[in-house]
Symmetry: C2
Subunit: 241 residues, 2 copies
DNA sequence: GTTGATTGGGCTAGTCTTAGACCATTGATG
DNA sequence: CATCAATGGTCTAAGACTAGCCCAATCAAC
């Protein structure tokens, strides 16, 4: 933790890869987080290229790669587009160990710590801010969505619920950061089997989070989120052992 | 908060600017956060270019721009290098209003919320992790550094103290994020006059943060950080009014 | 002094990326 | 069945960026 180590915090690579690679990563994030639901399509190329601040050529290369990898189905002509075909793989311990091995234990620990910090921070902020009625309705709606979800939609709606908390703070930076944190562990979470016991447990914890936020109790919100995420992390570890 | 709004969380520009602009921004961050202290020099160009993952040509353009802007003094030959000459401007309400006007009230609010969330999250995580003796020593050392600092070094050592909390969690992602959050408000904080009353108040709050972390009390840590940052934000608002 | 290691300064050829124009396909609509 | 708007597919010229090389300056050590 000397001075030179601290420097590395800021003097890291300016770019995570070339434009093509970064674009693939970003689209994959939107797909895997379920922000574009299976069957839906991405915005038109011309529009998306502007949104992402890249050229159409580069965007098309990225879409082509994702299409080849089976994440997208691209169709020409009016009413065509790049349709999401991705469905998370079936939960499986083999996938999980593979994914963990690929990212490394250090990065896994980093990602879990990061997610814990930013999601707790978001919940705390939202609880402190005493959200308006409209925001409360959204939060309750997202919770109900998860509880009513079938197994096919559960992960996607769970993600939506978690991200809603950060979005409702009104801070785009915080929302973006929470989305980033979640996407770093999403493949791992997908590898955990969805047992009814665990879903029930999660539902109770989700409820506690919402209750604390609606009650304007930042400490209770922090604790509820921490407990929920620690629980998920424990499941991960157990499934890894 | 409909689906398309949520998409914007992820489908934002892939790159914040060209390589030159992003490099300037990154170096400016290291300088303004005091990670390279005034009088110290940046790593040699060849080394730094590799660290930042860019070509030496681009790095040199960035260094040239910062040199022209008065942040760096570049000297050739052995024992030469790019020496930091930056000193934060004198606190001044005019500077502050200018800076706020430049970034916009929405972005300011975003940045303050973001910082509150991630720094509280980091403190909570560190308190939960029951840091080892070595880490405790570092934390206490940083706190002492701030308390012993003269007015010239205060801001730099205050920054170092705050960032140490995130660094000590052992999560590079979290450390990077806290550094980013701090740098988004550093110009504004620099515009606040350093009155003894405020420094004394900050010292008490810093002590409370360290005590809570060393006691392994995440709720107390969260509260102490929240109180400290809210206090700073209040000073900002008061100085703006 | 002379030397040599270290550092910034500068050039070139090649690759990545972009902007913009134009072509090809699709399918709802009249 | 002809039309046409929306969308993906393709090409080109210009600019951004890189890797690698060599030059110039500085100064501690001998």
């Amino acid at each position: 933790m000397d001075e030179s180590a601290r420097l590395m915090t800021v003097l890291r690579p300016v770019r995570a890869g070339n434009a093509f690679e970064e674009t693939v990563e970003r689209l994959l994030q939107a797909i895997k987080l379920g922000l574009v639901a299976p069957g839906d399509k991405l915005p038109p190329e011309r529009e998306l290229a502007v949104t992402l601040g890249i050229s159409r050529v580069t965007l098309r290369e990225a879409i082509r790669a994702l299409s080849d990898a089976g994440y997208l189905d691209v169709r020409r002509g009016r009413y065509g587009g790049a349709f999401v075909t991705y469905a998370p793989p079936e939960p499986d311990a083999g996938h999980l160990r593979e994914a963990v091995k690929e990212m490394g234990m250090a990065d896994l620990s980093d990602a879990l710590t990061f997610r814990l910090a930013v999601e707790c921070g978001a919940a705390q902020v939202l609880a402190t801010s005493r959200p308006a009625e409209q925001q409360r309705v959204v939060l309750v709606r997202r919770l109900a969505d998860v509880n009513e979800a079938g197994l096919d939609d559960y992960r996607r709606l769970d993600t939506a619920f978690h991200l809603s908390i950060a979005e409702l703070t009104g801070s785009p930076l915080l929302a973006t950061t929470c989305a980033d944190a979640r996407s770093r562990v999403s493949d791992l979470l997908n590898a955990i089997p969805m047992l009814q016991v665990n879903l029930d447990h999660a539902a109770v914890q989700h409820q506690a989070i919402v209750d604390a936020i609606l009650a304007g109790d930042p400490d209770a919100a922090r604790q509820a989120v921490a407990e929920h995420l620690e629980g998920t992390a424990a499941l991960l570890r157990a499934f890894l052992a």
